[in-house]
């Protein structure tokens, strides 16, 4: 696979990376759920419909992407959809990363918790909840983790001032 080429858009990536195991896994599971795709700087990004993320993760897990290395969020305020939850998944056997992405209109809409697929998502999701206020449905213990329990507001949101409220 050529690391230098850039493919943007679902159709281009599907045409350019037919043999990619993660794409094959997603397509054989549910092609409808794959909303967008990008291959840029040697990294594959797959955007999945928010309601399907757990089963998508289970599908790539079965394809050999066995390790959830990182889970975080990005706030695209003021554009919509506002929040993006990003999952970086590593395959120990294929020696490769993929990035799954979910777009959320608002923090209230929430997203399924990944803890049923990878228990390690527990702390990562608590961190995202703590700093962005994104709700994870089905999380066993969704509480603040870094900020004090009684803290108001979500510090990593773009409408939260860098120096805080004084």
């Amino acid at each position: 696979m050529d690391k230098q080429k850039t493919l943007i858009g679902r159709a281009d990536v599907l045409g350019g990376l037919v043999e990619h195991p993660a794409i094959k896994a997603i397509l054989s599971w549910n092609p409808e759920a794959l909303l967008d795709a990008k291959f840029d700087r040697g990294e594959l990004t797959l955007t999945i419909a928010a309601k399907n993320i757990c089963s998508a993760a289970a599908a790539v897990q079965a394809a050999g992407y066995n390790f959830l290395e990182d889970l975080t969020a990005v706030d695209w305020f003021p554009s919509t959809p506002r929040f993006q939850v990003t999952y970086h998944i590593l395959s120990h056997s294929l020696k490769e990363y993929i990035r799954l992405k979910v777009l959320l209109d608002g923090a209230e809409s929430g997203v399924e918790s990944m803890t049923s697929v990878w228990p390690s998502a527990n702390y990562y999701e608590r961190e995202v909840f703590d700093l962005f206020g994104i709700r994870f449905d089905g999380h066993p213990n969704l509480r603040r983790i870094l900020m004090p329990d009684e803290w108001e507001g979500y510090p990593l949101r773009k409408d939260y001032p860098v120096e805080g409220y004084r």
């Binding site: 990004t45 975080t72 990562y124 900020m147 329990d149």
Partner: protein, 406 residues
């Protein structure tokens, strides 16, 4: 002491009928064996740990938020402060991520020196782990010995960067300046001496019956649990998962240096001790390979709009002065996009997720640090074991609270 029914600090209330027998105790945040400000809430039945719950966040300084208000090059000094025992790896990981975003080529000498510095930094991290771990178990002497050797690493760093711990020496586009003339000789002298010293530590610890009995069979972690709980680095390899980012997804020219990745299939505290000792010896071999083949050339990329000019040039050449002024006052723009760069640091897989919106400041910087994930596995390792084993397990997973709280 909190009551056993306090559900705010524990994930679930104690089992019915156990309320009278179980006790909830606090360990930390001010406790010498928690390696920083880690608070553990332990539910114990006699001396057996029934549940364990880490409370973190005491060192949270919001570095990820601060990064969004800085220019790209200004983030480098912030990264030192996250894992202060392994500073070069932090610098390296961030620089690699931004270089990947820009598509910047780094001169060969700079990448070789980066490998050398990352390995020195790993040795620094492992020496502190060994000293403090042995101290927790009760072998105080080793602590004094490892800190003596670590002092030499800090002196080498001081000669390079003018700073012992917060080096900020690896920058976007290469290194901040040429290393001093005696640098390579000093490193050679250090690694000539170190293998003997590692033998000395092993002599003090490997045959020590107290150390053996406190570690063997304690803190077992299965390979399945290691993967499920996000554990990386030496702890994962001690559980039998054969994966090392330096070898399997090489970055920064690591593919040029063949080395052994030690693994163990036992998965207890003792195997973590053995794995890390071998890793230190392998790091020495990598450093030797770098010293033997060190190429000539510049240590900064030829990108005047991104890399600060040399001080001398800045004072004599108009163009260099303009570039210097522009970079310092306006930063440099980075093409829009997102990258995730992971490296194998002393504690495990460190990853930087950098999102750019095309301006001179990062839109979002997220740091994935190994200790944060490894801490999740602590309960699995300690459950059903004696209270005193918790100290041994915390020492063996080698956490730094700076990188947990960020």
């Amino acid at each position: 002491m909190a009551s056993a029914g306090d559900t705010r600090i524990l994930q679930a209330p104690p089992a019915e009928g156990a309320k009278d027998q179980h006790m909830v105790i606090n360990m930390g945040p001010q406790h010498p064996a928690t390696h920083g400000v880690l608070r553990l809430v332990l539910e114990i039945d006699g001396e057996i740990v029934v549940r364990l719950y880490p409370e973190i966040g005491y060192l949270h300084t919001g570095i990820e938020k601060t990064c969004e208000a800085k220019f790209y090059q200004q983030v480098v000094p912030l990264t030192d402060r996250i894992n202060y025992l392994d500073p070069m790896s932090n610098n390296l990981c961030y620089s690699l991520a931004v270089e990947k975003l820009i598509g910047l080529e780094i001169p060969e000498k700079a990448t070789w020196l980066r490998v050398l510095l990352a390995e020195l930094s790993r040795l620094n991290s492992h020496l502190i782990w060994l000293g403090t771990h042995a101290m927790d178990i009760g072998a105080l002497t080793v602590f004094l010995y490892t800190f003596r050797e670590r002092e030499e690493i800090l002196r080498i760093f001081e000669g390079l960067a003018g700073q012992r711990m917060m080096t900020s020496y690896i920058r976007i586009g290469g290194l901040s300046m040429e290393p001093p003339l005696d640098f390579l000789d000093r490193v050679q002298g250090f690694i000539n001496m170190l293998p003997e010293k590692i033998d000395e530590y092993a002599n003090l610890l490997t045959g020590n019956p107290i150390f053996r009995n406190r570690l063997k069979g304690v803190g077992y972690l299965s390979p399945e649990d290691a993967i499920a709980l996000g554990v990386t680095g030496p702890v994962m390899r001690a559980s039998g998962v054969d994966f090392d980012l330096r070898r399997d997804i090489p970055y920064c020219g690591y593919e040029k240096f063949p080395f052994q990745v030690p693994i163990s299939t036992v998965g207890d505290c003792w195997s973590r001790y053995e794995v890390r000792l071998v890793e230190m010896r392998e790091s020495i071999k990598i450093i030797q390979m770098v010293l033997d083949g060190m190429p000539e050339g510049p240590v900064k990329a030829d990108a005047p709009k991104i890399v600060l000019p040399d001080r001398e040039k800045m004072k004599t050449q108009m163009e260099a002065l303009i570039h210097h002024f522009k970079i310092v006052t306006e930063g440099f723009t980075v093409p829009a996009g997102e990258v995730y760069q992971a490296i194998e640091a002393g504690h495990g897989a460190t990853g930087y997720y950098v999102v750019s919106d095309g301006t001179a400041k990062p839109y979002r910087v997220h740091m994935r640090y190994p200790s944060f994930a490894t801490l999740q596995a602590l309960e699995t390792m300690c459950k059903g074991r004696m209270l005193a084993d918790v100290v041994a397990v915390i020492g063996s997973i080698d956490i730094v609270l700076g990188e947990i709280d960020r």
